[in-house]
Every structure is written in C-alpha cells, then in structure tokens.
C-alpha cells in the first residue's frame, strides 16, 4: 500500500464528481447514465484500494507513517495535509466505500428516469469523496473541512427533490441543527490551537492528530483542557450522529431519496460522529468525565429514540429512529468501554484502542444491516409508492427477495445469534453490565424495543393482506403502479450482497480477530468463540428479551390479521378463542398500548421531542430572527438617525475610554 494509492481512495470519487458536474451535466446530459457508471467505477476502485489498505494495516503495529505534506506555512501557523492510516481508518474506508458501492448500484434502479439523475450521482460522488477524506485526514483542520463538506452534501441530497416543500425544509433543518454541533467542534479545534504554546516546545503541532495523541500521552495538556476539548468534539459528534438533544433533524431527513438515507443517514455520515469520538479517543480517555457524558447521552438516546420508533407509521421513520437508537448504542459502547479501561488506571494508546474496538465493531456491523433495512424500505416504497405502513401489507408474496433480506437485517438488528448484530451488541452489553448496571438496564430495554419495532415493521409491511399502496402518485417518479412488484435485479442484487454481509460481518470478532486488528486483545479458536459464547448467560438473556419483543410484535401485528379473520370463519369454536385473543389484542392495543403507551408515555416522548427539543432549536432561531427584526426597526431610512447613531457611538466610546479605562 503506497501513499499514492491511499490518496487515490479520496481522489477517485472526487474525480468522478468533477467529471460529472463539469463535463457530463453541462454537455452530455442526454447520456446521464454515464454518470451512474462512472460513479460506480470510481467507488468500486476506491473499495478495492480500501481493501488493500485493510490488508496493509492488518498486523501492522500502529499507524502507517506517511509524512504529511505542507499545505500552509506562515510563521507559527503551520497546516499540513496528510493521511493517517491505521486500523480504524481502514475499517471506516471499507465501510464507506463498500456501502457506498452497494447503494450506487441500487440507485441505478431506484433513480431511473429521475430528471436529476446526473446531479444525484455528482452529489453522491462528492459525498463519498468527502466522507473518505474525513476518515483519511491526519490533520484536524483537514478533518473539519471534510466534516463540513459532508454536511453540505447531506444538505444537498436531503433536499434533492426540492419540489417537495417538506424536503427543502428538512434539508435546511438538518444543515442548521448539525451546525450547532459543528460549532462546538470548531471551538474545540480553536481551543486546541490556543494551547499550541504548551506543546510547541516538544516539537508537536496542535493540529496534527498523531501529535495530539503524543501530547495527551505525555501529559502536556491538563485534564481541564482535555475535558473542554472532549466536550467540544463530542458536541460535533452529537450533531452529526443525531444524538439527544440534536437528533431532531434525522427523522425529517428521510425526505431525501431512500438510497441517500441508506448511505448518509444510516451507514456513513451519521456514523462520522461515532468515528470522531473514536478518532479522538485518547482525549476522552484522559478526561473520564467526558466518557461518562458520552455513555449517558448514548444510553439515553438509545432508549429515547427506540420508544418513538415503536409508534411511527412511516417505514422510513421507524428505521431512522432505529438508526438514532443504534448510534446511541455505539456511543454507549464507546463510553462504557472507555470507562472500564480508564478504571485500570494507566491509559495507553493500546488500551484506548481496545475500547474503541467495541464501539466501532457495532458501527461496522450496523452499517451493513441498517443500509440493508433502508434499501429494503426503499424497495417497498418503490413498489407501493408510499412509505405509510398502514397502506402496505402482504408484500411477502410479491416481493420475496426484499422480504427475506429485510427479515435477515431485522434479525441482525434485533441481535439474534449468530447474525452480525448479535456479536457487537453482546460486547456492548457485557461491558455495560460490568461497568454501570443502570446503563446496562437501558441497553437491555433498548434490545427489547428494537426487536419489537423492527418486527412490527416486518409484520405490517410484509404479512397480512395488501392494503392498497399509495392513493396518489408515486413518490419520486410518475410511472403508475397497478400492483406491487419485486424491484429490478439492479436493486435486488446489492440487497442480497448486503444481507450476506449482515449475517457474516460479525464473525470477524467471533475469535477476537477484530479486537486484535484494532490493536488489543487475543484470538481464540473460531468455533470456540462461535459456540462458546452460548455457554454464558448474558447472550441468552439478551436473546430472550429480543425474542419477547419479536413475539409481542407478532401478537399485535402478525397474528391478529392472518389468524383471526380466516381461521374464525372456518373453525367457529376456535374462532371464539382467536376472537377473544383478537379481542385481547384489541383491548391490549386500545387500553394498554394506545391509551397508556401511545397516548401516554410514547406520545409524551414524542410531544417532548416536537415541542421541547425541536421547539428549543426552532425557538433559538426564532428569537434570533425576532431580534434581527427588532434591530432592523432602527433602519428607518432617516439618514440623520444614522448620523445620530454615529454620534452616540463616539460619545459612548469616549466616555468608556476616558472615564472608565
């Protein structure tokens, strides 16, 4: 793996973006399918190179040291561009380019005939390039630059169907809310630079990531400084990863095309926040207070988002809340693992990496099954023209591939042995139990709700009878649907590939290989790990809880339609039983679920979300705008009032300088 090859990972999608937007769109828009092919080619190349990087970092001790290139040097101001290639980088590269490739292939089918086809692929290329750049950056400023670019692309892609007012509003909301977090991140960078003096003596540059690690290890920065830094960085992560209380943008972001949701709002960009915490983990590790915050915010978000996922009728929104919840899970994993490590006392880079491994492993697995869930819901949406699950049902028969892959992803999400989600979830649960029982309880509760809501989706969407699909026109193109049908192969194949990954990606750490790859841990035999884990009680507890969730979903949404009506006609005596059961379900749903949970607790959460959290964010904006309008009132067009302001300004300044200073 040469340095040039590593740079190529970034430049291939970037070149694709440039060619599409400067050559294909202006001059060859009739051949816009080239844009798709070019994107797939470029990202495919990036994936191959990423896999090479993965291979190169395997067994490599520490990062592969390439000297950064000087970008700007003026006096004490020194910025360098470079690649920081370690196992974390390599993993992220593979996740980003791999999921991106699948999504681009899928988009060939999904976006077919859309008038903005070339624009779509241009933005997707730019997004992938920025995301890869974010991962590769060896310099905080470079990282931040790509961090912002990623946000910009997200903005452009959420609002891709700009003729929908909701899409444009959602794009703006996402942009503004995430920038609130970015602001903390930027402050952290500036604060870091503020302390350049403290570490310059050691020949370190406060903006270079390896130098930051060294400065933290050698104790050049005090705990207070590191705490503030950690808080700033975590603020950025909270915004991008849609953690409480900045999570409000992500559900709305579902207004974008579904492949965009799959790539950006499930697998990559939202995971960038988790990546950011992982990237700066030594800082967090050295300031345990921040780790506690990470863990608590993560745990709270996981439960909070899951409760809302249980009551949504929009399939994409369920998956979106699920994403928020799972990202919270990753944060929880990072936080508690970090705390567990910090407890040991001496913090070294190796130990920190072990903690990172736990959070990142879930990120890695989640990327595949969550992207798959989105692609599946996109496929459903493509077939029925709606995202409302109440208008779906019975799609199992007409869309077998979508059904099977969706169920696999759902099981993986629910954490059923031996699928991918099981392995990473188990690690997080284990370390949470060891570290903080309350957080463990939250995590376990999340497991239950996760299983429940995802299978509620499965039962509502794929089981029962078809309930008609979209009453109006299709969401993104106008071709009419008589009946729902399976999506074309170009969409199904990526889903199948992802479903395979959703099964096997977790096997990597069955024998501890992932942890070793990340720098810490010991391997054991594969089969020993594969079956041995079942000898412990914890996995069983988790799976039973998940099973209960699935069962409850079945009782409420699966059985009531299939069994109750058909069986009831044929077997009168048993009908009563089922009827009663049905009645019980109704009762349950009416009294318990709808009255207490939906109208009570969950609706409360939702109200809290829309009124308080959302309201606070909007309120802040409104206050600012109102202030602007107030101040603007001085601008009356009366030039002498303007002159008066000048005069008053002078008098006030003189007053302060002469009599107060």
């Amino acid at each position: 793996m040469s340095e040039a090859a590593a740079w190529l990972v970034l430049f291939l999608p970037l070149a694709s973006f440039l060619i599409i937007s400067l050559v294909i769109r202006p001059f060859f828009n009739r051949y816009s399918q080239w844009a798709g092919y070019l994107t797939i080619l470029a990202i495919g190349g990036a994936l191959v190179l990423s896999l090479m990087a993965l291979k190169a970092t395997t067994g490599h001790e520490g990062p592969i040291g390439w000297d950064p290139h000087s970008w700007i040097t003026v006096g004490s101001f020194n910025l360098r561009l470079g690649i920081y290639m370690n196992s974390l980088t390599a993993i992220m590269l593979v996740v980003v380019s791999g999921v991106s490739l699948m999504v681009q292939v899928y988009s060939q089918g999904y976006m077919k005939g859309d008038p903005g086809y070339a624009r779509y692929f241009a933005f997707m290329s730019l997004f992938t390039a920025s995301m890869l750049g974010l991962v590769l950056a060896s310099n905080v400023v470079m990282l931040y630059a790509f961090w912002e670019l990623v946000g910009l692309c997200s903005y452009l892609l959420i609002g891709f169907w700009y003729h929908r007012p909701a899409a444009a509003a959602a794009a703006k909301k996402a942009f503004i809310v995430t920038r609130l977090g970015d602001f903390g991140f930027l402050l952290a960078i500036l604060y870091l630079f503020f302390h350049q003096g403290a570490i310059a003596g050691q020949g370190l540059n406060s903006l270079e990531i390896p130098d930051i690690y060294r400065a933290v290890q050698t104790g050049l920065l005090g705990t207070a400084v590191l705490t503030w830094l950690g808080l700033g960085i975590f603020a950025g992560a909270v915004g991008k990863s849609a953690q409480f209380p900045l999570h409000v943008w992500l559900p709305d972001a579902m207004e974008g095309p579904t492949p965009v949701s799959a790539l950006i709002h499930a697998a990559t960009m939202v995971a960038a926040g988790v990546f950011l915490v992982a990237r700066f983990f030594p800082i967090f590790e050295a300031a345990p207070a921040t780790l506690r915050l990470v863990a608590v915010i993560g745990g709270a978000t996981a439960v909070f988002a899951a409760t809302m996922g249980m009551v949504m009728n929009d399939i994409k929104r369920v998956v979106a809340y699920s994403t928020i919840s799972q990202l919270g899970y990753m944060m929880l994993g990072l936080g508690v693992a970090g705390l567990a490590v910090a407890r040991e006392g001496h913090v070294t880079a190796e130990v920190a990496r072990a903690a990172v491994a736990i959070g990142i492993f879930h990120l890695f697995n989640h990327a595949f099954f969550k992207a798959l869930l989105f692609l599946g819901s996109g496929s459903v949406n493509h077939a029925t023209g709606t995202v409302d699950m109440r208008l779906m049902g019975g799609l199992r028969k007409v869309m077998p591939w979508t059904y099977i892959t969706f169920v696999i992803a759902g099981l993986s999400l629910a954490g059923v042995w031996p699928l991918a989600g099981f392995w990473s979830k188990d690690e997080i649960l284990a370390v949470a139990l060891k570290e903080q029982p309350v957080l463990f309880a939250l995590a376990l509760l999340t497991v239950f709700m996760t299983a429940f809501y995802i299978f509620r989706v499965v039962f509502l969407t794929f089981c029962g009878e078809y309930r008609g699909g979209a009453p109006g026109e299709h969401g993104h193109d106008a071709h009419a649907h008589g009946k729902p049908h399976e999506s074309p192969p170009v969409m199904v194949v990526p889903m199948v590939i992802l479903s395979v990954l959703a099964v096997i990606s977790g096997f990597w750490n069955v024998n501890g290989a992932f942890s070793v790859f990340m720098g810490e841990g010991q391997t054991k035999g594969f089969f020993e790990g594969f079956f041995g884990i079942l000898a412990h009680p914890l996995p069983w507890i988790a799976m039973i809880v998940a099973g209960l969730g699935i069962f409850l979903a079945y009782l409420m949404y699966g059985s009531k339609r299939i069994s109750a009506e058909r069986m009831g006609e044929r077997f009168k005596p048993i009908y009563t039983l089922f009827y009663r059961k049905y009645y019980f379900d109704e009762l349950y749903e009416n009294l318990f679920v709808r009255r207490s949970l939906v109208n009570g607790l969950f609706a409360g959460f939702q109200k809290f979300d829309t009124n308080v959290v959302d309201g606070a964010v909007n309120g802040l904006a409104n206050v600012t705008v109102a202030t602007g309008k107030g101040v603007r009132r001085w601008q009356t067009g009366q030039l002498q009032l303007y002159g008066l302001f000048m005069g008053i300004g002078i008098v006030v300044i003189v007053l302060v300088l002469l009599f107060a200073g």
């Binding site: 009132r633 601008q635 009356t636 067009g637 009366q638 030039l639 002498q640 002159g643 005069g647």
Partner: protein, 116 residues
C-alpha cells in the same frame, strides 16, 4: 480683566463650532442647511489645525532652521481641507438639485424610499 488668549481659547471655539455644525447636520430637515452645517464643522477643524500649527508645532518641529517651514503644516492642512470641502459641497448641491428635480423636495426626512 480677561485672561490672555491662548491655544485653549481657539480650541474651545473650534469645539463650539463643531458641535453647532453637528447639531445642524443632524437636526435640520433642509438638505442645503445640512450642507451648510457640515461646512461649519470643516471650519471648526480648520480653526483647530491652524491654532495647533501656531502654538504646538514650534515646540515639536522647529528645532532646526531648515525645517522651520514645517511650522506651517497646519495651515497647509487647512488649505487642503478648504479645497476638499468645496468640492464636496459642490457635489452635494448638485445632488440636492438632482433630487429636487426628481421629487420636488429637499427635505432629507422625506428621503426614505429604502428602509429595513
């Protein structure tokens, strides 16, 4: 009876002229009167610089015979101020006339087509 006239006297006079000019520029409706008031402010500046030139410059400048003529820097300053102010007021009057032709008013309070 009265104290001998010194720098401070000229400066206070200048200040008074400046303040009256500022008041006129900010409080009068007629654009021509505003221009007249601005002229008063420029005159105030001239009084000040010429007085400084007369009282302060000797102590700071005139150590050597060949730089003695820099004593008059303040007066040269005033020459330029007069020139520039003349150009500015001429332009201002041109604008006032142009606006009067367009809108039949010279009251600056009525010039509020643009606001907020």
């Amino acid at each position: 009876m009265l104290a001998p006239i010194g720098l401070e006297h000229f400066l206070v006079l200048s200040g008074a002229l400046f303040s009256i000019g500022l008041y006129g520029a900010l409080a009068k409706k007629n654009a021509v009167v505003v221009l007249m008031s601005i002229e008063l402010m420029f005159n105030a500046v001239n009084v000040a610089v010429v007085a400084f030139s007369r009282y302060i410059a000797p102590a700071t400048t005139a150590q050597l015979p060949d730089t003695a003529r820099f004593l008059l820097t303040g007066q040269v300053f005033a020459v330029f101020v007069i020139t520039v102010a003349a150009a500015e007021v001429a332009l201002g009057l041109a604008l006032v006339l142009a606006i009067y032709r367009l809108r039949a008013t010279v009251h600056v309070t009525e010039m509020n087509l643009m606001k907020q």
